[in-house]
């Protein structure tokens, strides 16, 4: 588990199963987001599907570039706070072996206004998918393995 916290941004890699809703509750407590100033939170959770491109996927292996991944996620969280009137941003991402139904990624943004919260949260996940150095290998039910070639646009 790598944890990087700067003021009201938190970026974390998880080597084992995590519960997005518990993470959110814990982060809101830690960042005092129930202070009556925030108003709006937008959250995205991506979970592992058991199918892709017509094939049954048994498990996923998530490789990353230790050090650069955390740094890139920090950049992305900081951008959200610069570009939108956002109070806080959270990114949690799994690495290692993942099973269908397991959460892979959690992004969240808090703001006084819902438009800013939605746009900042969308930016967190889109920027992560385009720039954060993670790579998925799919282990198929037929025993074969393949690297995912690239992310879908949406």
């Amino acid at each position: 588990m790598t944890r990087i916290q700067h003021g009201r941004t938190l970026v974390r890699l998880e080597e084992t199963h995590f519960e997005p809703w518990s993470e959110l509750a814990a982060f809101e407590r830690a960042a005092a987001l129930d202070d009556g100033k925030t108003g709006a939170a937008s959250v995205f959770v991506g979970t592992m599907r058991d199918f892709n491109a017509g094939d049954d996927v048994e498990q996923l292996f998530l490789e990353h570039y230790p050090g650069m991944t955390e740094r890139e996620l920090e950049h992305i969280a900081a951008e959200a706070l610069e570009r939108w009137p956002v109070n806080a941003a959270l990114i949690v991402h799994r690495v290692g072996l993942i099973r269908p139904g397991d959460p892979i990624v959690l992004t969240a943004a808090w703001s006084a206004h819902r438009g800013a919260a939605f746009e900042a949260c969308r930016h967190l996940i889109e920027a992560l998918k385009h720039r954060a150095p993670f790579w998925k290998r799919e282990d198929l039910r037929d025993g074969s393995q393949r690297w995912v070639a690239e992310n879908t646009p949406a």
Binding site: Y65, M68, I104, K129, W135
Partner: protein, 76 residues
């Protein structure tokens, strides 16, 4: 002076190893480092980072740099 080259994911499997060490005298840019090691231009789909920040192929290398080559990212 020496430069560490790292490969990730499918690119590591294609190259057949996770790391190369390059004498900096052999290359002054990221693109030249690839060419020196692999005998061809850096493919357009290969991404490069130096000291854990994205760079373009013409980025100039310095002693002790950590260079990484990897395929399109697929996280999230």
């Amino acid at each position: 002076m020496s430069i560490t080259i790292r490969y990730f994911a499918s690119l590591r499997e294609q190259v057949g190893r996770g790391e190369d060490i390059l004498d900096a005298g052999d290359a002054t840019t990221v693109g030249e480092a690839w060419k020196h090691l692999h005998g061809a231009d850096m493919p357009p789909r290969v991404l490069a980072a130096v000291n854990q920040e994205y760079v373009a192929g013409d980025h100039v290398l310095a002693d002790g740099d950590e260079v990484a080559f990897f395929p399109p990212v697929t996280g999230g």
